[in-house]
Amino acid sequence: MKNFNKITKTLTFALLATSIFGCKKSDNNVTTNPDPTIGYVKIASGYADGAATKVDVYAKDSAFTGYNKLYIALTDSVTNKYVENAEISLMPDMNMTTMSHSAPFENPASSQAQNMLFPCSATFIMSSMGGTWSLGVSVKNLANSKSGKAMLSLKVKDPAAARMFSFVSPLDSAKYFVGLVPGEKTIVGANDLELVVYRKVSMMSYPADSSLTISFEPTMPSMGHGSPNNVNPVHTANGHYKGKVNYTMTGTWKLAFVLSKGATVVDSTHYIDFTF
């Protein structure tokens, strides 16, 4: 019996060893590329007819009111391969039966895809409760110079806690939209704090604004404390303001903002709640 046990143990070990090595071998033979959209959710999809291209829009999460980082995947509908060289321009549209308006957006910075995807953004300034959002995507495939436009409908939800706010400046009576650019990962520690500011010029035009001075204070409302050594966001490029926020623990943090233009405080009533 003792011997039998020994034999079974040895055999099991040998089997285990071969199976481990076997797996390694087959792994090495696999050559297919990993799917570039792993980890993203598809929030809209359609065809850009003239360009013979399928347009899929991905994001980390389903679309919400605020700054959405988007990743567009183009697929040649003939070869079924990713299009990696294309000019893309966006045009968000909100149809509210009596009227329609657009939203702030950022086209892909380059005509060259990054890992098969074209990063861009749209800042949806209201949810689909008020009407129907669609995202116009104009595509020019630089490989064959074919152009076309896709109109993709999508659902925009209000997040549990607002990730953007708007205010009307007393200086120029213009409406400004301020959105929180979500970071990759939030830690207990020092985090990048990135905001984006857009100014409404017309129903269809929301250019980036670099004219504000932003200060902020993070607090934990449930405990009544803040955190030290925060860095106010300053404008870097394209309406993006970057600073540092220190979270001393997990939980819900309230970021209260004061926005100024020159010496005039233009808004000090808004805050963004952030939970991690």
Partner: protein, 667 residues
């Protein structure tokens, strides 16, 4: 004044039946209390005086020593400090092993893990440089009892049971030993359970109860005539330990301590004594705020410390008048503590209070003793330690970015220590010792990495920093003793300057984290601190079985702006008179301290009034066949004084009149 290295004192039991029953290893007796300061000579006479009653805890024993200051936050788990030094400046070891508490609020000093019945002795080093570890304030080493081979009776044991009225306190302990020619085993267990105690004047102190269990197992095996092998295991569980001076209690605390040693003892050999030990210990700690009223927010605060280490020691005789003691040690301690706060309807709030960190220490030490003539001796001690502290997880490193943009998460220090002691017999009865020393210490993990650690003493949140300069001290000691066969008088005085003194510095721009905290303090080097003090002892073996013991101490501490340092005890005296008549022993104790008006306002310290406290103790001892029985009883704090000592936190009064009774039997 490290002249006496280790005194191998014979048992001097309170009752002489230990010898009559023919075995040395009686249960609740401590064989030796070695104070490697002024008191080394008279320890023999006053050992029993420290062990006031047999239900006394190790911290009760320590509290009676003049060079020890206890920082008290509850009925149990008081933190031992030496002279004027604070807890970061003093090392507490168990049998030479390093052990780190797992509580950010210092609720678990290492002294709670060794019960007196498991205590062979306490080595206290106050003057000079420490051979066992780099520190500026001194070392408390709790030496564990060893099983004894070749006892007359192969099986021996003891049982004790006691009750104390002030806290409705029960104490049960048992000990069992087996002794053969080549091997021996000793086991012991102690259970203590105390309710909320009644303070002097009658008020019951809420959340002062505690319950704990301690057990030990030790085995020794004779490898040959001079070499022994020994294994030790200590088990300690605290189920609830109340801390009335803190905003929360200990819900559960567990310590497991294990070691394996080989030891040589051969006085006629050139290498007289050698010891090599490997050890490991882990402490787990869980705080509990569920028994407190009006808790603003419930929180869990677990902590864990794990230490592994090894050391080797050797005593080498270089000639008739020259000795060398060598020691080398290496250890690593992992430490972690976190806090999770709960607010209904909100996500849990989690942070690290001790971000996961590891401290690796390696040191070598040598003590050289030379006796140029029969009257004098010179002892030179040196020690070098290499310390590295680092953060071990990404979460820990991330969290530190709140405090510093590019945190130096790894801290390296080379610590140097040197002391020279000169001792001389001025006449047959008078001996003088002078010591000069330089010592350095590593900042504590709280001082390096502490993250919003709430300090209930001053109501501030404390934050560490990794760029602290090394604290160092220049120390000087003088002592004089006069001894005859009946009388011993000794007097010691010390003075030291601690440079780069580490203290919390108020940061007015930083917001607090703890609800109700007054502000944030960050550890910083504060110039220097000046400290001085004196201790005296008087022992008189009067005729007709009477013995008188009296100890005195006075401490002084001030920073470089002459502001008093916090937690400096005032003048104190403890005196005892004991009379032995046949089987009866009677003892009267008086404890008193003067008022302390020198307080540190920044630490929100308050003045402490003087107090006087008296105790009476009576014991009766008898034998039945081979079993020795003792019955002890007494009354502590007879006059029910409402008092506190200056180093007690939270202005909580100590227990009032306490009547106790204790029955012991040993066979």
């Amino acid at each position: 004044m490290r002249v006496r290295i280790i005194l191998a004192l014979a048992a001097l039991p309170l009752f002489a039946y230990g010898q009559e029953s023919g075995h040395k290893d009686t249960v609740v007796e401590m064989n030796e209390v070695v104070v490697r300061g002024m008191l080394s000579d008279q320890t023999r006479q006053i050992k029993d005086f420290y062990v006031a009653n047999k239900a006394a805890t190790t911290e009760d024993i320590l509290a009676r020593m003049p060079e020890v200051t206890m920082v008290r936050r509850g009925s149990y788990g008081s933190e031992p400090l030496l002279r004027t030094y604070n807890s970061g400046q003093v090392s507490v070891l168990i049998d030479g092993m390093r052990i780190h508490g797992a509580c950010t609020d210092k609720m678990d000093p290492a002294t709670v893990y060794v019960e007196p019945q498991n205590l062979k002795g306490i080595n206290i080093q106050t003057s000079g440089a420490a051979q066992v570890g780099s520190n500026v304030g001194g070392t408390v080493d709790l030496r564990l009892r060893e099983p004894v081979c070749g006892c007359e009776r192969p099986v021996s044991g003891a049982l004790s049971s006691g009750y104390q009225s002030a806290a409705g306190y029960f104490y049960e302990s048992g000990q069992l030993s087996f002794s053969k020619e080549r091997w021996a085993i000793r086991t012991n267990a102690t259970y203590r359970k105390a309710g909320d105690y009644r303070a002097g004047g009658g008020a019951v102190v809420a959340n002062s109860r505690y319950e704990k269990m301690n057990a030990g197992l030790s085995a020794i095996y004779k490898l040959n005539e001079s070499w022994n092998m020994k294994a030790d295991f200590l088990y300690d569980d605290g189920y609830f330990i109340g801390y009335p001076a803190l905003p929360m209690d200990v819900g559960y605390a567990a310590a497991r301590i294990a070691s394996l040693s080989v030891m040589k003892w051969k006085p006629e050999s050139r290498w007289e004594r050698m010891q090599y030990k490997v050890y490991g210990n882990t402490v787990y700690h869980l705080m509990d705020d569920t028994h407190r009223p009006n808790v603003a927010m419930h929180m869990d605060m677990p902590g864990r410390s794990t230490t592994v280490g090894t050391f080797g020691e050797a005593a080498l005789r270089l000639g008739a008048r020259r000795h060398l003691m060598l020691r080398g040690d290496v250890s690593a301690t992992d430490l972690y503590a976190s806090m999770t706060m709960y607010q209904p309807g909100q996500p849990d709030m989690y942070m690290l209070t001790w971000p996961d960190n590891r401290t690796i220490q390696s040191g070598i030490a040598a003590t050289y003793t030379v006796r140029p003539d029969t009257q004098s001796s010179v002892v030179i001690t040196t020690r070098i330690d290499q310390f590295t502290s680092l953060l071990t997880t990404q979460d820990a490193r991330d969290q530190l970015t709140v405090l510093q943009e590019h945190p130096e998460t790894s801290v390296n220090r080379l610590l140097k220590n040197l002391s020279v002691a000169y001792s001389r017999d001025l006449s047959g009865r008078v001996r003088a010792v002078a010591t000069a020393a330089y010592a350095e210490r590593m900042p504590t993990q709280s001082e390096l990495y502490g993250f919003y650690l709430f300090n209930a003493f001053d109501n501030y949140d404390y934050i560490g920093r990794t760029d602290l300069k090394t604290e160092n001290a220049y120390k000087g000691d003088m002592s004089l003793s006069y001894s005859t066969s009946d009388v011993l008088v000794s007097l010691a005085a010390f003075a030291s300057r601690v440079n780069n003194y580490i203290m919390g510095l108020y940061e007015p721009t930083w917001g607090t984290m703890t609800i109700g905290a007054l502000g944030v303090k960050r550890y910083a080097n504060m110039g220097y601190g000046n400290m001085a003090g004196a201790e005296a002892a008087f022992v008189w073996k009067a005729p007709r079985g009477t013995q008188v013991v009296s100890t005195f101490r006075y401490n002084y501490g001030a920073d470089d702006k002459r502001t008093p340092l916090p937690l400096i005890n005032p003048f104190r005296n403890i005196s005892s008179v004991r009379k032995k008549t046949g089987r009866w022993t009677t003892q009267l104790d008086a404890e008193m301290a003067l008022r302390q008006d020198r307080v540190n306002v920044a630490a929100r310290e308050v003045k402490t009034p003087d107090f006087f406290k008296a105790n009476v103790r009576v014991a009766y001892a008898t034998m039945y066949r081979l079993t020795a029985f003792t019955i002890e009883g007494g009354c502590e704090n007879i006059f029910d004084a409402a008092y506190r000592e200056h180093t007690d936190w939270g202005r909580v009064y100590r227990p009032g009149r306490n009547i106790y009774v204790q029955v012991n039997c040993s066979f």
